[in-house]
Amino acid sequence: MSYSTPVPPLRNAPVEAMAGATATAAESVAAIAPSGNDPAAILARAQGGDHQAFAQLYSMHKKHVYSLCLHMIGNVAEAEDLTQEAFLQFHRKIGTFRGESALSTWLHRLTVNVVLMHLRKKGLQTNSLDEMMEPDSDQRPGRSFGARDPVLSGAIDRLTLQRAISDLPPGYRLIFVLHDMDGFEHNEIATMLDCSIGNSKSQLHKARLKLRESLRNPPRQEALK
């Protein structure tokens, strides 16, 4: 049995928008798009075991899942493995998705859980998640007592910020991505990471401090080559 090559979706409409659509709205969308490519129809087919439909879901969500893994873990090879694991779990559990939440939200949380499970397993081999969340002293943010650096008085350069985030120690990056980029609340992060809400807040603060340091002293371009 072979899957066909994933084909890109015809539209970028989120699956959840279709899944929760009223009959009238669904009918109007059906009028402008082939029914076979209706995201809700694709999801339904995939839930029924249609391999091509699952390949289409992969095409629709692969960038988000991979990007999330990459931002949380900061390592390309591990991000690829985790993306694979996330989609395998998605495939195993797709029949349990009932549409109470958006598919993208559901898949997002599934992916976060996959990454966290990976970090916990990894933590058992190296150190605890708590230890990972609190990096060595040389990786912690320093303190700033000088005059305000003009770099942060203006717009923050997007690429510099991306690079600084990827250079954060793993524990700081995890909290920062979950809170400031993914929009999880501290109570959700505390539950996910099995830490206190206060710990989540203070770690986020340290992550932002570390980023501020990096933004004030970005690595020289030559050093990056």
């Binding site: 991979y66 931002h71 395998l88 980029m181 206060g198 603060h205």
Partner: protein, 85 residues
């Protein structure tokens, strides 16, 4: 650099910041921040970083061959489940 309010220096205040934030205290209302331009600017910078990050979710494309690996793994899993008693 000694600040008069609360007798906290910037160094002391910043050392206590993670703990203060962890308790849920509104840092912007802290007497030291109210009277200290430097620490107020520091917090403004941190807010700016958070704001910038909210606009930032760079989308990355996974390698083309990743799907083949996922596809193979799914096929293997399905074959295993079919052969299971």
């Amino acid at each position: 650099m000694r600040q008069s309010v609360n007798n906290l220096s910037c160094q002391e205040f910043q050392a206590r910041l993670p703990e203060l934030i962890g308790t849920g205290e509104r840092i912007a209302d802290h007497p030291h921040v109210q009277s200290c331009e430097l620490c107020s600017a520091l917090l403004a910078d941190l807010d700016a970083i958070a704001q910038a990050a909210r606009q930032l979710f760079p989308v990355e494309e996974p390698p083309d061959d990743l799907w083949k690996e996922i596809e193979s793994a799914i096929v293997r899993e399905e074959a295993a489940s079919r052969s299971a008693p």
